[in-house]
Protein backbone atom coordinates (compact mmCIF):
# COMPACT_ATOMS: atom_id res chain seq x y z
CA UNK A 1 0.00 0.00 0.00
CA UNK A 2 2.59 2.55 -1.07
CA UNK A 3 1.24 6.01 -1.79
CA UNK A 4 0.66 6.17 -5.55
CA UNK A 5 2.66 9.30 -6.08
CA UNK A 6 5.10 11.29 -4.01
CA UNK A 7 3.18 13.64 -1.72
CA UNK A 8 4.58 16.83 -0.25
CA UNK A 9 3.59 18.77 2.85
CA UNK A 10 5.30 22.13 3.13
CA UNK A 11 5.47 24.93 5.68
CA UNK A 12 7.20 27.99 4.23
CA UNK A 13 8.28 30.96 6.31
CA UNK A 14 5.38 30.35 8.69
CA UNK A 15 4.79 32.63 11.67
CA UNK A 16 2.10 32.27 14.30
CA UNK A 17 1.23 34.17 17.43
CA UNK A 18 -1.26 33.41 20.14
CA UNK A 19 -2.99 36.13 22.18
CA UNK A 20 -0.44 38.66 21.01
CA UNK A 21 2.70 36.72 21.84
CA UNK A 22 4.64 35.20 18.94
CA UNK A 23 5.04 31.39 19.08
CA UNK A 24 6.56 30.44 15.73
CA UNK A 25 8.70 32.62 13.51
CA UNK A 26 9.88 31.95 9.97
CA UNK A 27 9.44 28.17 10.14
CA UNK A 28 10.33 26.13 7.06
CA UNK A 29 9.55 22.43 6.93
CA UNK A 30 9.30 19.92 4.12
CA UNK A 31 7.75 16.51 4.61
CA UNK A 32 7.55 14.02 1.77
CA UNK A 33 5.87 10.62 1.78
CA UNK A 34 8.32 7.97 3.02
CA UNK A 35 9.97 10.48 5.35
CA UNK A 36 9.62 10.35 9.12
CA UNK A 37 10.17 13.92 10.24
CA UNK A 38 10.47 14.44 13.98
CA UNK A 39 10.13 17.89 15.49
CA UNK A 40 11.75 18.11 18.91
CA UNK A 41 11.46 21.05 21.24
CA UNK A 42 11.01 21.93 24.88
CA UNK A 43 7.51 22.01 26.41
CA UNK A 44 5.68 25.10 25.23
CA UNK A 45 8.07 25.61 22.31
CA UNK A 46 5.26 25.70 19.75
CA UNK A 47 5.82 22.28 18.24
CA UNK A 48 2.18 21.27 18.75
CA UNK A 49 1.17 24.50 16.99
CA UNK A 50 3.25 23.37 14.00
CA UNK A 51 1.31 20.13 13.86
CA UNK A 52 -2.02 21.94 14.22
CA UNK A 53 -1.06 24.14 11.27
CA UNK A 54 -0.20 21.09 9.17
CA UNK A 55 -3.46 19.43 10.22
CA UNK A 56 -5.43 22.54 9.27
CA UNK A 57 -6.89 23.05 12.75
CA UNK A 58 -5.58 26.59 12.68
CA UNK A 59 -4.06 28.90 10.08
CA UNK A 60 -0.79 30.78 10.09
CA UNK A 61 -0.50 34.54 10.56
CA UNK A 62 1.95 34.70 7.69
CA UNK A 63 3.71 32.25 5.40
CA UNK A 64 2.13 29.30 3.61
CA UNK A 65 1.10 25.79 4.62
CA UNK A 66 0.61 23.66 1.54
CA UNK A 67 0.04 20.10 0.44
CA UNK A 68 1.23 19.26 -3.07
CA UNK A 69 1.37 22.97 -3.87
CA UNK A 70 -2.17 23.76 -2.68
CA UNK A 71 -2.92 25.82 0.42
CA UNK A 72 -4.34 23.85 3.32
CA UNK A 73 -7.70 25.40 4.22
CA UNK A 74 -8.85 23.03 6.94
CA UNK A 75 -8.58 19.51 8.31
CA UNK A 76 -8.77 16.68 5.80
CA UNK A 77 -8.76 12.89 5.84
CA UNK A 78 -5.53 12.79 3.79
CA UNK A 79 -3.74 14.16 6.89
CA UNK A 80 -4.70 11.84 9.76
CA UNK A 81 -3.89 12.93 13.30
CA UNK A 82 -2.88 10.83 16.32
CA UNK A 83 -3.13 12.62 19.65
CA UNK A 84 -1.28 12.30 22.94
CA UNK A 85 -4.41 11.28 24.84
CA UNK A 86 -5.79 8.75 22.41
CA UNK A 87 -8.92 10.90 21.63
CA UNK A 88 -10.89 7.72 21.01
CA UNK A 89 -14.65 7.43 21.53
CA UNK A 90 -15.47 5.36 24.64
CA UNK A 91 -19.02 4.62 23.49
CA UNK A 92 -17.59 2.59 20.60
CA UNK A 93 -15.58 -0.62 20.86
CA UNK A 94 -12.07 -0.85 19.38
CA UNK A 95 -13.33 -1.96 15.95
CA UNK A 96 -15.99 0.74 15.65
CA UNK A 97 -13.46 3.38 16.70
CA UNK A 98 -11.21 2.28 13.83
CA UNK A 99 -14.18 2.11 11.45
CA UNK A 100 -15.38 5.60 12.45
CA UNK A 101 -13.55 7.52 9.68
CA UNK A 102 -14.91 5.04 7.10
CA UNK A 103 -18.43 5.61 8.40
CA UNK A 104 -17.92 9.37 7.97
CA UNK A 105 -16.68 8.89 4.42
CA UNK A 106 -19.89 7.08 3.55
CA UNK A 107 -20.51 4.69 0.68
CA UNK A 108 -18.82 1.75 2.40
CA UNK A 109 -21.18 -0.91 3.71
CA UNK A 110 -20.92 -2.15 7.29
CA UNK A 111 -19.44 -5.57 6.44
CA UNK A 112 -16.65 -3.90 4.48
CA UNK A 113 -16.03 -1.37 7.24
CA UNK A 114 -15.68 -4.18 9.77
CA UNK A 115 -13.36 -6.09 7.47
CA UNK A 116 -11.08 -3.10 6.97
CA UNK A 117 -11.13 -2.11 10.64
CA UNK A 118 -10.22 -5.64 11.73
CA UNK A 119 -7.44 -5.81 9.16
CA UNK A 120 -6.06 -2.48 10.36
CA UNK A 121 -6.23 -3.59 14.00
CA UNK A 122 -4.30 -6.72 13.05
CA UNK A 123 -1.71 -4.55 11.28
CA UNK A 124 -0.97 -2.68 14.51
CA UNK A 125 -0.75 -5.90 16.53
CA UNK A 126 -4.30 -6.02 17.90
CA UNK A 127 -5.73 -9.01 16.03
CA UNK A 128 -8.89 -10.24 17.73
CA UNK A 129 -9.29 -7.12 19.88
CA UNK A 130 -12.13 -5.65 17.79
CA UNK A 131 -14.93 -6.16 20.27
CA UNK A 132 -12.94 -4.98 23.30
CA UNK A 133 -14.18 -1.86 25.01
CA UNK A 134 -11.60 0.88 25.51
CA UNK A 135 -11.38 0.47 29.28
CA UNK A 136 -10.46 -3.16 28.73
CA UNK A 137 -7.31 -2.03 26.88
CA UNK A 138 -4.00 -0.76 28.25
CA UNK A 139 -2.70 2.72 27.42
CA UNK A 140 -0.39 1.30 24.77
CA UNK A 141 -3.19 -0.75 23.21
CA UNK A 142 -5.41 2.32 23.09
CA UNK A 143 -2.65 4.20 21.26
CA UNK A 144 -2.47 1.31 18.79
CA UNK A 145 -6.23 1.67 18.23
CA UNK A 146 -5.68 5.40 17.65
CA UNK A 147 -2.95 4.59 15.15
CA UNK A 148 -5.18 2.05 13.38
CA UNK A 149 -7.99 4.62 13.22
CA UNK A 150 -5.62 7.09 11.58
CA UNK A 151 -4.28 4.50 9.11
CA UNK A 152 -7.59 2.99 8.04
CA UNK A 153 -8.33 5.83 5.62
CA UNK A 154 -4.89 5.35 4.00
CA UNK A 155 -3.91 8.98 4.53
CA UNK A 156 -1.02 10.57 2.66
CA UNK A 157 0.39 11.88 5.93
CA UNK A 158 0.29 10.84 9.54
CA UNK A 159 0.54 13.71 12.03
CA UNK A 160 1.42 12.52 15.53
CA UNK A 161 1.35 14.88 18.52
CA UNK A 162 3.49 13.37 21.31
CA UNK A 163 1.55 10.12 20.90
CA UNK A 164 3.64 8.10 23.36
CA UNK A 165 4.25 10.78 26.01
CA UNK A 166 1.72 9.36 28.45
CA UNK A 167 2.99 5.78 28.24
CA UNK A 168 5.39 4.00 30.58
CA UNK A 169 8.97 3.54 29.37
CA UNK A 170 8.60 -0.11 28.34
CA UNK A 171 5.34 0.37 26.44
CA UNK A 172 6.81 3.46 24.87
CA UNK A 173 9.79 1.53 23.49
CA UNK A 174 7.41 -1.10 22.07
CA UNK A 175 5.25 1.58 20.47
CA UNK A 176 8.29 3.21 18.87
CA UNK A 177 9.18 -0.06 17.20
CA UNK A 178 5.52 -0.60 16.23
CA UNK A 179 5.44 2.85 14.61
CA UNK A 180 8.63 2.16 12.66
CA UNK A 181 7.17 -1.11 11.41
CA UNK A 182 3.93 0.54 10.34
CA UNK A 183 5.83 3.36 8.66
CA UNK A 184 8.14 1.00 6.78
CA UNK A 185 5.13 -0.94 5.55
CA UNK A 186 2.91 1.94 4.38
CA UNK A 187 5.54 4.63 3.75
CA UNK A 188 3.21 7.49 4.58
CA UNK A 189 4.99 10.69 5.45
CA UNK A 190 4.99 10.99 9.24
CA UNK A 191 5.24 14.24 11.18
CA UNK A 192 6.07 13.27 14.75
CA UNK A 193 6.16 15.77 17.61
CA UNK A 194 8.05 14.96 20.81
CA UNK A 195 10.02 16.54 23.63
CA UNK A 196 11.97 13.31 24.18
CA UNK A 197 15.37 13.60 22.47
CA UNK A 198 16.11 9.84 22.53
CA UNK A 199 12.76 9.14 20.92
CA UNK A 200 13.40 11.84 18.33
CA UNK A 201 16.86 10.50 17.40
CA UNK A 202 15.61 6.93 17.27
CA UNK A 203 12.64 7.52 14.97
CA UNK A 204 13.61 10.38 12.68
CA UNK A 205 14.83 10.21 9.13
CA UNK A 206 14.89 13.99 9.45
CA UNK A 207 15.13 15.70 12.81
CA UNK A 208 14.01 19.31 13.21
CA UNK A 209 15.16 21.03 16.40
CA UNK A 210 12.98 23.94 17.51
CA UNK A 211 14.50 26.47 19.85
CA UNK A 212 13.91 29.89 21.28
CA UNK A 213 10.90 32.07 21.85
CA UNK A 214 9.32 32.55 19.36
CA UNK A 215 10.52 29.19 18.08
CA UNK A 216 12.77 28.94 15.05
CA UNK A 217 14.33 25.92 13.40
CA UNK A 218 17.71 25.74 15.14
CA UNK A 219 18.98 22.69 13.30
CA UNK A 220 17.93 19.98 10.86
CA UNK A 221 19.64 16.57 10.96
CA UNK A 222 19.37 13.58 8.64
CA UNK A 223 19.38 10.32 10.59
CA UNK A 224 18.92 6.60 10.09
CA UNK A 225 18.64 4.96 13.51
CA UNK A 226 15.06 3.97 12.68
CA UNK A 227 16.27 1.88 9.76
CA UNK A 228 18.78 0.18 12.07
CA UNK A 229 15.97 -0.69 14.48
CA UNK A 230 14.02 -2.13 11.57
CA UNK A 231 17.10 -4.10 10.52
CA UNK A 232 17.08 -5.78 13.91
CA UNK A 233 19.17 -3.57 16.22
CA UNK A 234 17.66 -3.15 19.69
CA UNK A 235 16.92 0.34 20.97
CA UNK A 236 19.26 -0.38 23.91
CA UNK A 237 22.17 -1.10 21.59
CA UNK A 238 21.53 2.09 19.70
CA UNK A 239 21.26 4.19 22.84
CA UNK A 240 24.61 2.80 23.99
CA UNK A 241 26.30 3.85 20.72
CA UNK A 242 28.77 6.72 21.47
CA UNK A 243 27.79 8.50 18.27
CA UNK A 244 24.14 8.45 19.39
CA UNK A 245 25.15 9.93 22.73
CA UNK A 246 27.17 12.67 21.04
CA UNK A 247 24.18 13.53 18.88
CA UNK A 248 22.00 13.69 21.96
CA UNK A 249 24.37 16.21 23.56
CA UNK A 250 24.47 18.21 20.36
CA UNK A 251 20.67 18.37 20.17
CA UNK A 252 20.46 19.29 23.86
CA UNK A 253 22.87 22.17 23.21
CA UNK A 254 20.80 23.40 20.28
CA UNK A 255 17.54 23.10 22.22
CA UNK A 256 18.66 25.39 24.99
CA UNK A 257 20.94 27.58 22.90
CA UNK A 258 18.87 30.70 23.23
CA UNK A 259 17.45 30.05 26.69
CA UNK A 260 18.59 32.58 29.26
CA UNK A 261 20.78 31.09 31.99
CA UNK A 262 18.67 29.80 34.89
Amino acid sequence: MMPDTMQQLTLSNVSLSFAGSPILEGIDLQLASDELVVVVGASGSGKTSMLRLAAGFQSADSGTVQMNGHDIAGPGAERAVVFQDDALFPWLNARDNVAFPLRLQGGIDRAERIRRADAQLAAVGLEGYGTRRLWQLSGGQRQRVGLARALVVQPAFLLMDEPFAALDALTRAQMQVALLEVWSRYRQGVLFITHDIDEALLLATKLVVLSGRPARVAETLTLDYGRRVLAGATTREIRADPQFQNLREQVLDRLFLSEPAA
Binding site: A55, G74, P75, A77, V81, F89
Partner: protein, 264 residues
Protein backbone atom coordinates in the same frame (compact mmCIF):
# COMPACT_ATOMS: atom_id res chain seq x y z
CA UNK B 1 -13.91 7.53 42.92
CA UNK B 2 -13.95 8.19 46.64
CA UNK B 3 -12.34 5.89 49.15
CA UNK B 4 -15.79 5.07 50.46
CA UNK B 5 -16.88 3.63 47.11
CA UNK B 6 -13.61 1.88 46.49
CA UNK B 7 -13.38 -0.10 49.68
CA UNK B 8 -16.06 -2.81 49.81
CA UNK B 9 -15.61 -3.23 53.58
CA UNK B 10 -16.25 0.46 54.20
CA UNK B 11 -19.18 0.45 51.83
CA UNK B 12 -20.68 -2.46 53.76
CA UNK B 13 -20.18 -0.69 57.05
CA UNK B 14 -21.84 2.46 55.64
CA UNK B 15 -24.85 0.36 54.65
CA UNK B 16 -24.87 -1.18 58.11
CA UNK B 17 -24.88 2.24 59.79
CA UNK B 18 -27.77 3.30 57.51
CA UNK B 19 -29.73 0.18 58.47
CA UNK B 20 -29.12 0.88 62.16
CA UNK B 21 -30.28 4.51 61.73
CA UNK B 22 -33.53 3.47 60.02
CA UNK B 23 -34.19 0.83 62.67
CA UNK B 24 -33.56 3.39 65.41
CA UNK B 25 -36.02 5.87 63.86
CA UNK B 26 -38.66 3.11 63.62
CA UNK B 27 -38.08 2.12 67.26
CA UNK B 28 -38.36 5.73 68.45
CA UNK B 29 -41.51 6.20 66.35
CA UNK B 30 -42.98 3.01 67.77
CA UNK B 31 -42.02 3.90 71.36
CA UNK B 32 -43.42 7.44 71.11
CA UNK B 33 -46.77 6.26 69.75
CA UNK B 34 -46.91 3.61 72.49
CA UNK B 35 -46.88 6.31 75.17
CA UNK B 36 -50.14 7.61 76.53
CA UNK B 37 -51.23 11.04 75.52
CA UNK B 38 -50.16 10.89 71.86
CA UNK B 39 -53.30 11.02 69.75
CA UNK B 40 -53.09 8.73 66.65
CA UNK B 41 -54.57 11.71 64.81
CA UNK B 42 -51.17 13.40 65.17
CA UNK B 43 -48.95 10.36 64.87
CA UNK B 44 -50.28 6.86 64.23
CA UNK B 45 -48.07 3.89 65.14
CA UNK B 46 -45.89 2.10 62.56
CA UNK B 47 -48.20 -0.91 62.90
CA UNK B 48 -51.28 1.18 62.11
CA UNK B 49 -49.58 2.68 59.04
CA UNK B 50 -48.56 -0.79 57.84
CA UNK B 51 -52.10 -2.07 58.35
CA UNK B 52 -53.41 0.92 56.38
CA UNK B 53 -50.94 0.15 53.59
CA UNK B 54 -52.33 -3.39 53.31
CA UNK B 55 -55.90 -2.12 53.45
CA UNK B 56 -55.43 0.54 50.76
CA UNK B 57 -53.47 -1.94 48.64
CA UNK B 58 -56.43 -4.39 48.77
CA UNK B 59 -59.49 -2.19 49.01
CA UNK B 60 -58.30 1.22 47.92
CA UNK B 61 -58.88 4.75 49.19
CA UNK B 62 -61.00 7.44 47.53
CA UNK B 63 -62.18 5.14 44.75
CA UNK B 64 -58.83 3.73 43.68
CA UNK B 65 -56.39 1.10 44.94
CA UNK B 66 -52.88 2.08 45.93
CA UNK B 67 -51.57 0.57 42.71
CA UNK B 68 -54.00 2.68 40.65
CA UNK B 69 -52.95 5.83 42.49
CA UNK B 70 -49.31 4.91 41.95
CA UNK B 71 -49.88 4.16 38.25
CA UNK B 72 -51.64 7.50 37.70
CA UNK B 73 -48.75 9.39 39.32
CA UNK B 74 -46.03 7.44 37.50
CA UNK B 75 -47.78 7.94 34.18
CA UNK B 76 -47.82 11.72 34.72
CA UNK B 77 -44.18 11.82 35.79
CA UNK B 78 -42.96 9.71 32.86
CA UNK B 79 -45.04 11.64 30.33
CA UNK B 80 -43.52 14.83 31.76
CA UNK B 81 -40.03 13.27 31.64
CA UNK B 82 -40.46 12.33 27.97
CA UNK B 83 -41.52 15.89 27.14
CA UNK B 84 -38.71 17.39 29.21
CA UNK B 85 -36.11 15.22 27.43
CA UNK B 86 -37.54 15.95 23.97
CA UNK B 87 -37.39 19.71 24.66
CA UNK B 88 -34.55 19.94 27.19
CA UNK B 89 -31.83 18.03 25.31
CA UNK B 90 -32.03 20.12 22.10
CA UNK B 91 -32.21 23.32 24.16
CA UNK B 92 -29.18 22.19 26.17
CA UNK B 93 -27.33 21.40 22.92
CA UNK B 94 -28.17 24.86 21.61
CA UNK B 95 -26.95 26.51 24.82
CA UNK B 96 -23.78 24.44 24.89
CA UNK B 97 -22.76 24.72 21.24
CA UNK B 98 -23.90 28.09 19.92
CA UNK B 99 -23.56 31.65 21.18
CA UNK B 100 -26.93 32.59 19.75
CA UNK B 101 -28.52 29.51 21.30
CA UNK B 102 -27.05 30.46 24.65
CA UNK B 103 -28.29 34.02 24.24
CA UNK B 104 -31.83 32.86 23.52
CA UNK B 105 -32.32 29.96 25.91
CA UNK B 106 -30.00 30.59 28.85
CA UNK B 107 -32.14 33.40 30.40
CA UNK B 108 -35.34 31.36 29.91
CA UNK B 109 -33.88 28.29 31.59
CA UNK B 110 -32.41 30.34 34.43
CA UNK B 111 -35.77 32.10 34.83
CA UNK B 112 -37.73 28.84 35.11
CA UNK B 113 -35.25 27.01 37.31
CA UNK B 114 -35.82 28.64 40.71
CA UNK B 115 -39.63 29.13 40.51
CA UNK B 116 -41.51 26.77 42.87
CA UNK B 117 -44.25 24.78 41.07
CA UNK B 118 -46.99 26.08 43.38
CA UNK B 119 -46.27 29.57 42.02
CA UNK B 120 -46.96 28.74 38.37
CA UNK B 121 -49.63 26.12 39.00
CA UNK B 122 -52.57 28.63 38.94
CA UNK B 123 -51.34 30.12 35.67
CA UNK B 124 -51.02 26.69 34.04
CA UNK B 125 -54.57 25.85 35.17
CA UNK B 126 -55.87 29.13 33.70
CA UNK B 127 -54.09 28.44 30.42
CA UNK B 128 -54.57 24.70 30.03
CA UNK B 129 -57.56 23.89 32.20
CA UNK B 130 -57.86 21.27 34.89
CA UNK B 131 -57.22 18.21 32.73
CA UNK B 132 -54.29 15.83 32.56
CA UNK B 133 -52.23 18.18 30.36
CA UNK B 134 -51.82 20.86 33.00
CA UNK B 135 -50.60 18.29 35.55
CA UNK B 136 -48.01 16.95 33.12
CA UNK B 137 -46.92 20.47 32.22
CA UNK B 138 -46.45 21.46 35.88
CA UNK B 139 -44.21 18.41 36.46
CA UNK B 140 -42.49 18.89 33.09
CA UNK B 141 -41.49 22.49 33.87
CA UNK B 142 -39.75 21.29 37.03
CA UNK B 143 -37.89 18.67 34.96
CA UNK B 144 -36.94 20.83 31.99
CA UNK B 145 -34.23 23.01 33.53
CA UNK B 146 -32.07 20.26 35.09
CA UNK B 147 -32.03 18.37 31.78
CA UNK B 148 -31.24 21.46 29.68
CA UNK B 149 -28.53 22.66 32.07
CA UNK B 150 -26.85 19.23 32.35
CA UNK B 151 -26.93 18.74 28.59
CA UNK B 152 -25.34 22.16 28.05
CA UNK B 153 -22.63 21.41 30.62
CA UNK B 154 -22.06 18.01 28.96
CA UNK B 155 -21.55 19.31 25.43
CA UNK B 156 -19.39 22.17 26.68
CA UNK B 157 -17.00 19.80 28.45
CA UNK B 158 -16.33 17.51 25.47
CA UNK B 159 -12.56 16.99 25.21
CA UNK B 160 -11.33 19.31 22.40
CA UNK B 161 -9.13 16.48 21.09
CA UNK B 162 -12.19 14.34 20.42
CA UNK B 163 -13.69 17.13 18.33
CA UNK B 164 -10.38 17.69 16.52
CA UNK B 165 -10.01 13.97 15.86
CA UNK B 166 -13.46 13.82 14.28
CA UNK B 167 -12.82 17.03 12.30
CA UNK B 168 -9.55 15.56 11.03
CA UNK B 169 -11.55 12.67 9.56
CA UNK B 170 -13.88 15.10 7.84
CA UNK B 171 -16.76 15.38 10.34
CA UNK B 172 -18.64 18.68 10.10
CA UNK B 173 -21.62 20.36 11.80
CA UNK B 174 -24.34 17.78 12.31
CA UNK B 175 -21.94 14.86 12.18
CA UNK B 176 -19.88 16.36 15.01
CA UNK B 177 -23.05 16.91 17.03
CA UNK B 178 -24.48 13.43 16.46
CA UNK B 179 -21.31 11.34 16.51
CA UNK B 180 -19.16 13.19 19.04
CA UNK B 181 -20.83 15.89 21.12
CA UNK B 182 -24.06 14.07 21.96
CA UNK B 183 -22.53 10.72 22.97
CA UNK B 184 -19.78 12.57 24.88
CA UNK B 185 -22.46 14.44 26.82
CA UNK B 186 -24.50 11.30 27.56
CA UNK B 187 -23.15 10.84 31.11
CA UNK B 188 -24.12 14.42 32.02
CA UNK B 189 -27.50 14.09 30.27
CA UNK B 190 -28.28 11.03 32.37
CA UNK B 191 -27.25 12.90 35.52
CA UNK B 192 -29.72 15.59 34.42
CA UNK B 193 -32.43 12.93 33.99
CA UNK B 194 -31.74 11.65 37.50
CA UNK B 195 -31.99 15.14 39.00
CA UNK B 196 -35.09 15.85 36.88
CA UNK B 197 -36.85 12.70 38.07
CA UNK B 198 -36.23 13.78 41.66
CA UNK B 199 -37.48 17.29 40.96
CA UNK B 200 -40.53 16.07 39.04
CA UNK B 201 -41.48 13.48 41.60
CA UNK B 202 -41.35 16.06 44.38
CA UNK B 203 -43.70 18.27 42.33
CA UNK B 204 -46.30 15.50 42.29
CA UNK B 205 -48.40 16.70 45.23
CA UNK B 206 -48.60 20.22 43.81
CA UNK B 207 -49.51 18.94 40.35
CA UNK B 208 -52.33 16.82 41.76
CA UNK B 209 -53.76 19.68 43.86
CA UNK B 210 -56.35 20.70 41.30
CA UNK B 211 -59.13 18.40 40.08
CA UNK B 212 -57.30 15.12 40.20
CA UNK B 213 -59.26 11.93 40.89
CA UNK B 214 -56.27 9.64 41.15
CA UNK B 215 -52.62 9.81 42.14
CA UNK B 216 -50.47 9.56 45.25
CA UNK B 217 -50.49 13.34 45.78
CA UNK B 218 -54.27 13.41 45.40
CA UNK B 219 -54.60 10.51 47.84
CA UNK B 220 -52.54 12.33 50.49
CA UNK B 221 -54.52 15.57 50.10
CA UNK B 222 -57.88 13.79 50.33
CA UNK B 223 -56.72 11.97 53.45
CA UNK B 224 -55.43 15.22 54.96
CA UNK B 225 -58.79 16.91 54.46
CA UNK B 226 -60.47 14.20 56.53
CA UNK B 227 -57.58 13.99 59.02
CA UNK B 228 -56.83 10.36 58.07
CA UNK B 229 -53.25 10.70 59.26
CA UNK B 230 -52.25 7.07 58.72
CA UNK B 231 -53.03 7.34 54.98
CA UNK B 232 -51.07 10.62 54.81
CA UNK B 233 -47.98 9.04 56.38
CA UNK B 234 -48.37 5.87 54.33
CA UNK B 235 -48.59 8.01 51.15
CA UNK B 236 -45.46 9.94 52.12
CA UNK B 237 -43.57 6.71 52.69
CA UNK B 238 -44.74 5.31 49.33
CA UNK B 239 -43.62 8.51 47.58
CA UNK B 240 -40.22 8.25 49.29
CA UNK B 241 -39.91 4.54 48.46
CA UNK B 242 -40.78 5.07 44.79
CA UNK B 243 -38.31 7.98 44.60
CA UNK B 244 -35.60 5.66 45.92
CA UNK B 245 -36.49 3.01 43.32
CA UNK B 246 -36.53 5.58 40.49
CA UNK B 247 -33.08 6.79 41.53
CA UNK B 248 -31.80 3.20 41.60
CA UNK B 249 -33.41 2.62 38.20
CA UNK B 250 -31.61 5.57 36.58
CA UNK B 251 -28.33 4.45 38.13
CA UNK B 252 -28.80 1.03 36.52
CA UNK B 253 -29.62 2.75 33.24
CA UNK B 254 -26.41 4.80 33.58
CA UNK B 255 -24.35 1.67 34.12
CA UNK B 256 -25.89 0.17 31.00
CA UNK B 257 -25.77 3.24 28.73
CA UNK B 258 -22.48 4.86 29.84
CA UNK B 259 -20.36 1.94 31.03
CA UNK B 260 -17.19 4.00 30.46
CA UNK B 261 -18.11 6.48 33.18
CA UNK B 262 -15.35 6.60 35.81
CA UNK B 263 -13.22 4.12 33.85
CA UNK B 264 -11.63 6.38 31.25
Amino acid sequence: MSALQKNPLRRKSAALVSAITITAVLIIWWAVTGMHGIDPLFLPSPGAVLAKFAEVWREGYVDATLLQHLAASLLRVFAALAAAIILGVPVGLAIGTSTIGRGIFDPLVEFLRPIPPLAYLPLIVIWLGIGETSKIVVIGIAMFSPIAISTAAGVRSVAPNRIDAARAFGARGWQLLLHVRLPSALPEILTGVRIALGAGWSTLVAAELVAATRGLGFMIQSAAQFLVTDVVIMGILVIAGVAFLLEAGVRLLERWLVPWRGKL
